[in-house]
């Protein structure tokens, strides 16, 4: 298991957002997390690279292991953790810099300054998201001039530039049209050969199409975690069926 939580609880002040989450994420799979708004799925995703640390009043109990290491241990290097566990957000958040500088941003933080090495990283990262051929003559242009789908790809390439192991994706297609969504999904299926992907999505069909395993969350609980086939053909818990079939509520 590349990610493992045991009896994980998270509180925003007195509000308990995650309740006794036991989750095991396997390497090189796409794990989908589904559930209604406010069920805690984005909160759970943010636990894995400790993004919740930035929120005042957050308290976490229970264990979270990544590659067998406790990420809440005092000796855990937070910068190294966020290098290992990258995140893609709902809206593409390209920096107001050139395409090249967006991709080179992370490696430069990691003190890579050699121009040839940076060029190689930019080329490799853009190629991994199938953008290099389209953008190789536009690397000095602003990343903000790209379409939403290309900006989202660029953001993924920016993660890949620092060689992560796990990609967290929080509704990565919610601001994209169906064609762009299809392209990002294809990209995810290619990327899982090399990376582990955890995706939060409201789009049930997206989870059904691309995820290998799916967890259904409700009111902070992980109600069911199973193979995608099992979840969508014969869920074990009635609440899961009610949600995925639109009977919920």
């Amino acid at each position: 298991m590349i990610v493992e939580t045991s009896n994980l609880n998270l509180y925003y002040g007195s509000f308990q957002a995650l309740k006794n989450i036991d989750l095991s994420v396997k390497e090189n799979l796409i794990t989908g997390i589904i559930g209604p708004s406010g069920c805690g799925k984005s909160t759970l995703l943010r636990v894995f690279n400790r993004m919740n640390d930035l929120i005042r009043g957050v308290k976490i109990t229970g264990g979270v292991l990544i590659d067998g290491e406790d990420i809440h241990s005092p000796v855990c290097d937070l910068i190294l953790l966020r290098k290992k566990v990258g995140m893609v957000f709902q809206r593409p958040n390209a920096f107001p810099l050139s395409i090249f500088d967006n991709i080179a941003y992370g490696p430069r933080i990691w003190s890579i300054t050699d121009k040839k090495t940076l060029r190689d990283i930019v080329e490799r990262s853009l190629a991994a998201v199938d953008l290099f051929d389209a953008l190789k003559n536009r690397l000095k242009e602003s990343a903000l001039s790209l379409s939403a789908e290309k900006q989202q790809r660029l953001c993924i390439a920016r993660l890949l530039a620092v060689e992560p192991e796990i990609l967290l994706m929080d509704e990565p297609c919610s601001s994209l049209d169906p064609i762009a969504t299809g392209k990002i999904e294809e990209l995810m299926l290619q990327l899982k050969r090399k990376y582990t992907i955890i995706i939060v999505t409201h789009n049930m069909q997206q989870a059904a199409r691309i995820a290998d395993e799916v967890g259904f969350m409700l009111l902070g609980e992980l109600v069911e975690f199973n193979s995608t086939k099992k979840i969508f053909t014969n869920p074990s818990d009635k609440r899961t069926f009610d949600y995925i079939s639109g009977r919920f509520g």
């Binding site: 049930m204 059904a208 969508f232 053909t233 014969n234 869920p235 069926f241 079939s245 639109g246």
Partner: protein, 221 residues
Amino acid sequence: MDRHFDEELQKVKKNLLEMASLVEESITKALEALKKKDLKMASEIKEIDHRIDRFEIAIEDQCIELIARHQPVGTDLRFLIGVIKMNNDMERMGDHAVNIAGSVAFLIEQPRIKPVSNIWSMASEVKEMLKDSVKSFMDNDAKKAQQVCARDNVVDEMRDETIRILLTYMIEQPDKIGSAIPLLLVAKNLERIADLTTNICEDVIYIAQARIIKHHAEEQK
């Protein structure tokens, strides 16, 4: 609150049950025509079969539209997949009823022969199996469906027995071959109908419990 989709699923179920009742009528009437050597009654089977065919197309169309528009999951998905398969199996049963009715024309000029009593026992068992399989679908009753599946062996044995008797009869009385061959075909058609009712019951079990029992799939896991 019932969803519009639930109402649509109920319409599919209602249509399949109506089709099943036509299939039952068609088989019963074909056997009656055979018993009475009634060519007029036998000719009515084709008209029923046309109606069965129209149901098959309509139900398939309904299922495809619901899958495309609602992307069903869980029980809903299993239900629609099961219905598509049952729909096809029921249409095939209708064809077997047409085949049975077709035998009447061959038997009309032939003398009645003794082994025909085996055919009636077989027919009665097959009709019961069909009735129970449709009931198991109507009630989403996997237990009843499982019981029907177990009865398929009984029909297979009855068919083997009928064939053995008819073959002996033909060897001993070659002048009765004209009467025996259509009955052999009727036995074969009845046995196929029993197989198709078994398929329906396997689909009922899949819909109700998500278990695939055909080809001993569970034992092979």
